[in-house]
């Protein structure tokens, strides 16, 4: 039974069609990679599925509910690790975790131990009382991951979660997620630019380009379809070799400036 599905899902920003009649399905308990070059429509699709944007047309369902019309029901089912930072940098690591625990109704009794477990796992427990603004990029990333896992979501959306992490941390994180997937049947929906990561982790992959799905299947199927040896080659065969510019909105540009200012 599929836990996430879209049919002809479309999102337009004015003239630009960011997501163009996209249809795919993710099975419950699956690890699903959503791949595409910059500006292909990955993040927009995730925002649509996670109740942050209204679709222009088409149908979508997450855990049996429509993310736009029944947003409250959908929000209870997932956790998300955003591509951009979403921490409160004026709060400590622990305070960020605690705030999240309250927002997601993690019972007070188990909150503290759960926070300790996750912060320890991501090697941040010693820094729990430091303000997040003193953290390095990689530490912030780890904290976001810890936070996204706090409330035991049944679906986990990860938008380029390993961006800026060293191979050790990446490895550590994926083994945790695979274990979580095996143990609790957590559905994992992720995007990444590291093809080796997708090849190793994902059970199924969809490749999106210019807002359209260009291929779907297991890593092996994609390689067979394109007659290539690695997922990286398959990806390049599917999406071409030209370098993409992201069609940045004014808000994205502002964020970019903000990031430059903060030296991230």
């Amino acid at each position: 039974m599929s836990i996430i599905s879209t049919e002809e899902l479309t999102k337009k920003f004015g003239e630009v069609t960011a997501v163009d009649h996209v249809s795919f399905a993710v099975e419950r308990g699956e690890i699903f990679a959503f791949l595409g070059p910059n500006g292909a429509g990955k993040s927009t699709t995730i925002k649509l599925l996670t109740t942050l944007l209204t679709p222009t047309s088409g149908r979508m369902e997450v855990a049996g509910h429509d993310p736009w019309r029944e947003s409250a029901a959908v929000r209870r089912t997932f956790g998300i690790i955003f591509q951009d930072p979403s921490l409160d940098t004026e709060l400590t690591a622990y305070e960020n975790m605690e705030l999240h625990g309250v927002l997601y109704h993690v019972p007070r009794a188990s909150r503290r131990s759960r926070i300790e477990e996750l912060l320890t796992f991501l090697e941040l427990w010693d820094r729990r009382t430091s303000l997040v603004k003193e953290f390095s990029g990689g530490m912030k990333r780890r904290l976001e991951i810890a936070r996204g896992l706090l409330h035991h979501p049944s679906i986990l959306f990860l938008d380029e979660p390993t961006l800026g992490l060293d191979p050790q941390t990446r490895n550590h994180m994926w083994s945790y997620l695979k274990d979580l997937n095996a143990r609790e049947h957590t559905t994992v929906f992720f995007t990444t630019h590291y093809m080796d990561e997708a090849e190793r982790i994902a059970q199924r992959i969809a490749v999106i380009d210019h807002g359209r799905i260009v291929a779907q299947g297991s890593p092996g199927e994609l390689k067979r379809q394109t007659n290539t040896q690695s997922l990286e080659d398959a990806f390049l065969a599917l999406t071409g070799k030209t370098i993409r510019e992201e069609g940045a909105t004014s808000l994205d540009q502002l964020r970019m400036q903000g990031r430059l200012w903060r030296g991230r």
């Binding site: 925002k47 996670t50 109740t51 942050l52 944007l53 209204t54 409250a72 929000r75 209870r76 998300i80 955003f82 951009d84 930072p85 979403s86 921490l87 409160d88 940098t89 004026e90 709060l91 305070e95 605690e98 705030l99 999240h100 309250v102 927002l103 997601y104 109704h105 303000l131 004014s250 808000l251 502002l254 964020r255 903000g258």
Partner: protein, 248 residues
């Protein structure tokens, strides 16, 4: 309830940790108090108005609240830019609670700021004549604070980015302040200005705080509380509606 509380607490923590912001936002009320208070004091006294510092001090308290509250509301824009807003917008809690938590937090911060300004006014010679009514003054301050935090939030929910911020300062905050009864008595004004002052919600905040601290309100404390209450209810409703429709 816990959601409202933790978001309220967040605003307080952020306030407590930014000492420079606290000190910086005290400079302006202090400047008004000293420059206008002592500058216009002699003329005001000659015109038969009495002690201008007595008149001006409650206004400067209201001013501190107005600025801090509007900033707290507009902080939504910062949260949007720095990403934290998304964390609250995808959470499985009604956005009304999110809006309430932030607004009450911002309003508490503004009230604290107003209290610090009040202590400063004592330093330059302000003497409240109705000391027993201090709690009432705090109520007036808090109502004013909630009103303008909700207004700031509503405005921030509509603005796309920080570009519009200067516009809001010049077209909303400054007129609200200068056209209220903060700097001059409302009695005997030209009709047009008098009318504008009567529809400016800050007039009732200033009048309420002044009435509670030194007596002789222009309207009456009942009118002040009622008008502030109606504005607060309306702006909370509008603010949470706009906030609930925000997309990232």
């Amino acid at each position: 309830m816990e959601v409202v509380y933790i978001l309220w607490l967040r605003q307080l923590k952020r306030y407590g940790r930014s000492r420079s912001r606290i000190v910086g936002s005290l400079a302006q009320p202090l400047l008004f108090l000293v420059a206008l208070g002592f500058g216009f004091g002699p003329i005001y006294a000659r015109a038969g108005g009495g002690n201008y510092i007595q008149f001006l001090a409650p206004s400067v308290i209201a001013m501190g609240i107005l600025f801090t509250a509007m900033f707290s509301g507009i902080e939504v824009l910062w949260d949007r830019q720095f990403g934290f807003l998304k964390e609250t917008l995808v959470a499985p809690v009604p956005r009304l609670q999110v809006m309430l938590g932030r607004t009450l937090g911002g309003a508490t911060v503004a009230t604290l700021q107003g209290t610090i300004v009040f202590l400063l006014t004592l330093g330059v010679g302000f003497r409240p004549t109705h000391v027993v009514q201090l709690p009432l003054a705090v109520v007036m301050m808090f109502l004013t604070a909630v009103l303008f935090t909700a207004l700031g939030t509503a405005v921030a929910a509509v603005l796309e980015d920080m570009q519009g911020f200067q516009l809001i300062m010049n077209l909303l905050v400054m007129p609200l302040f200068f056209l209220s009864g903060a700097l001059f008595p409302l009695a005997g004004l030209p009709r047009a200005i008098g009318f504008v002052a009567r529809i400016d919600p800050l007039s009732y905040g200033v009048d309420g705080i002044r009435g509670a601290l030194i007596g002789a309100p222009h309207f009456s404390l009942v009118v002040d509380v009622s008008v502030l209450g109606v504005f607060v209810a309306a702006l909370l409703a509008v603010g949470s509606y706009l906030f609930s429709r925000m997309q990232v």
